[in-house]
């Protein structure tokens, strides 16, 4: 997240440069965008998959604290 906040500052360095001999480096621009996206994707991904993994472990029927849902035994 710190990277995400700091990067826009570095970003201005590219946005600025268009003097003759100093051109925008498309590689840097594009890959930086990619790394930002990847950071967000991995953070979101770890939240989502972490939740799923924890759920799969905690709510499995063989967990010691597993209790019937409030729908079991009813005509849901």
């Amino acid at each position: 997240m710190a990277v995400l906040v700091g990067l826009p500052a570095v970003d201005f360095a590219f946005a600025a440069g268009e003097e003759p001999g100093e051109y925008l480096d498309r590689r840097v621009l594009i890959w930086n965008l990619f790394y930002k996206m990847m950071t967000v994707a991995f953070i979101t991904g770890s939240v989502v998959s972490g939740t799923i993994i924890w759920q799969v472990w905690r709510f499995r029927e063989s967990h010691p604290k597993a209790k019937p849902t409030r729908y079991e035994g009813t005509d849901w």
Binding site: R26, L29, I30, W31, L33, F34, M37, M38, A41, T44, G45, V48, S49, T51, I52, Q55, V56, F59, R60, E61, A66, K67, P68, T69, R70, Y71, E72, G73, T74, D75, W76
Partner: protein
């Protein structure tokens, strides 16, 4: 419940039947056959790409034909017919009607598939499953190309007829006591995907016809030498096929809506969100097609419009993930084979979607377009989500269709090996694409990183192959010799776990 194989029936009785359970069974057998045929081609591709140079495929033309038929087979001859199998079997049951709305048309729609499959396989075209002109017009060898075109034409008609049947059955034939807001979410998934098919496929039908007349030289729609524009084909193709990918995924998500709540022993967190998400995805899915064409020289404004259209579809997909996760919350879950496949599929669905969002960010497409990143991305969808959901549902319906149980241990082994293999192949291919390896190449320069990643991917593919052999053995053996199942509750979930309405097959 209907039991197909408890009482042996003559094969011709099933083949000439128009009852929805029999047509469903025919679709099932056909789609699984093509799964194995198309999957074998994939193993061939991965074996060839294990190292630079020629391994088991002698020349580039053969390789090009193999990947074309691999993609065409798995999309049009496995995924779509498999969904039709499930839909045919269960939609009438879910809406409490005796059959599909048009049983004879239903059977006709199925019987178009084997001839189309034969055309595609005997032809073995080489122009990729997109068949993009001008290559497909001026350079692709016939009669392979023409056979492919005819095969796809037939499949398109079959798809539309099937879709028509689903829409009428669900909307017009549902039981009078049942409102549209009470039909199961899997029925909604078939309604959505069928409506998409009916709107999207005709565009491709037109494009195919134009491609054929261009090939014959009597028209120049896409041939620049005759004043045509190849990019217009791309628009027509993707206008159909971007919504088509939603046609592929929506039924699989519908199948997960059958499995996940039941095995969690509680109802779905939000039925209305599920409906809303299906409907929204169906509509918004039509607004993103040209994100496949970012590199064709579109203007900045055009690209922006399609990027927005692409991103707009993400919340709908995300709602399904939320629905499943919230359903599993405070549940008491039995992780039988079908549930493992469904949950694994949801986890991979997210990674597939995340990669897609990256692609849609316009400049990032320059790094990933037509590289193995894209191959990894869409395979996480078609294998990781759709095939996983479909295979899970197949295990789920096995006791109902056969009256017997499959071997649970082998089913779990199938899942674990497939999951590991899928991650190994397709996550690696994302990185391989970032290193620049293009798609659809028979051979590659001996760049060490490319070689290493190709090898990891090939090993992963072999693991999937082994798991599929286990699957085949389990299915065949258990169908004939498996333990008899308790057809009211084969998975021991407790309570009423299937639809009270029976499918009364007149031949039983």
């Amino acid at each position: 419940m209907t039991l197909e194989l408890q009482k042996p029936r003559p094969i011709w009785q099933i083949m000439f039947s128009t009852h929805h359970t029999d047509v469903g069974l025919l679709y099932l057998i056909s789609s699984l056959t093509f799964l194995f045929l198309g999957g074998s081609l994939a193993l061939g591709i991965r074996a060839e790409l294990f190292l630079p140079g020629s391994q088991i495929i002698a020349d580039a033309m053969t390789f090009n034909r193999i990947f074309t038929v691999h993609g065409t087979t798995l999309i049009f001859l496995f995924i779509i017919p498999f969904a039709s199998a499930v839909g045919n079997y269960y939609v009438p049951i879910m809406v409490r009607y005796k059959d599909m709305a048009y049983p004879k048309l239903n059977a006709i729609a199925f019987w178009m598939i084997p001839p189309a499959g034969v055309l595609i396989w005997l032809g073995f075209a080489d122009f990729t499953w997109y068949a993009t002109p001008p290559y497909s017009i001026i350079s692709a060898p016939g009669p392979a190309a023409d056979m492919w075109i005819f095969g796809l034409k037939i499949l398109g008609i079959s798809s539309v007829l099937g879709a028509l049947n689903f829409v009428v059955t669900i909307l017009k034939c549902k039981h009078p006591d049942m409102s549209i807001g009470q039909i199961p979410l899997m029925a909604w998934s078939f309604l959505s995907s069928s409506l998409i098919i009916m709107v999207a496929i005709p565009t491709f039908a037109a494009a195919l016809l134009m491609l054929l007349t261009d090939r014959l030289g009597v028209s120049g729609f896409f041939n620049p030498a005759m004043g045509g524009d190849p990019i217009s084909y791309a628009h027509l193709f993707w206008f159909t096929f971007h919504p088509e990918v939603y046609v592929l995924v929506i039924p699989a998500i519908g199948m997960m809506y059958e499995i996940i709540p039941r095995f969690s022993r509680k109802p779905i967190y939000s039925y209305s969100s599920g409906v809303f998400a299906f409907v929204m995805l169906s509509i918004v899915g039509f607004s993103s097609w040209a994100h496949h064409m970012y590199a064709t020289g579109m203007s900045f404004t055009e690209k922006t419009v399609f990027m927005v259209g692409t991103l707009a579809a993400v919340p709908a997909s995300a709602m399904h993930v939320f629905n499943f996760v919230a359903t599993m919350w405070n549940a008491r879950i039995r992780f039988s084979t079908p549930m493992m496949w469904a949950v694994g599929g949801i986890a991979l669905f997210f990674s597939a979607g995340a990669g897609g969002v990256v692609n849609s960010a316009m400049p990032l497409d320059f790094t990933t377009h037509d590289t193995y990143w894209v191959v990894g991305h869409f395979h996480l969808f078609v294998m990781g989500t759709i095939a996983f959901g479909s295979i899970g549902y197949l295990y789920y319906m096995f006791p109902y269709v056969t009256g017997r149980m499959y071997n649970e241990t082998l089913g779990k082994i199938h899942f674990i090996l497939s999951f590991i293999g899928t991650v190994l192949v397709f996550f690696t291919q994302h990185v391989l694409g970032l290193y620049g390896m293009p798609r659809r190449i028979y051979d590659y320069p001996p760049i060490p990183e490319w070689i290493a990643m190709n090898q990891i991917a090939s090993v992963g593919a072999m693991i999937i192959g082994i798991s599929m052999a286990v699957f085949l053995a389990n299915m065949i053996h258990s169908a004939g010799k498996g333990k008899f199942a308790d057809t009211d509750d084969p998975f021991g979930l407790g309570g009423k776990y299937y639809y009270p309405f029976e499918a009364k097959n007149p031949s039983h």
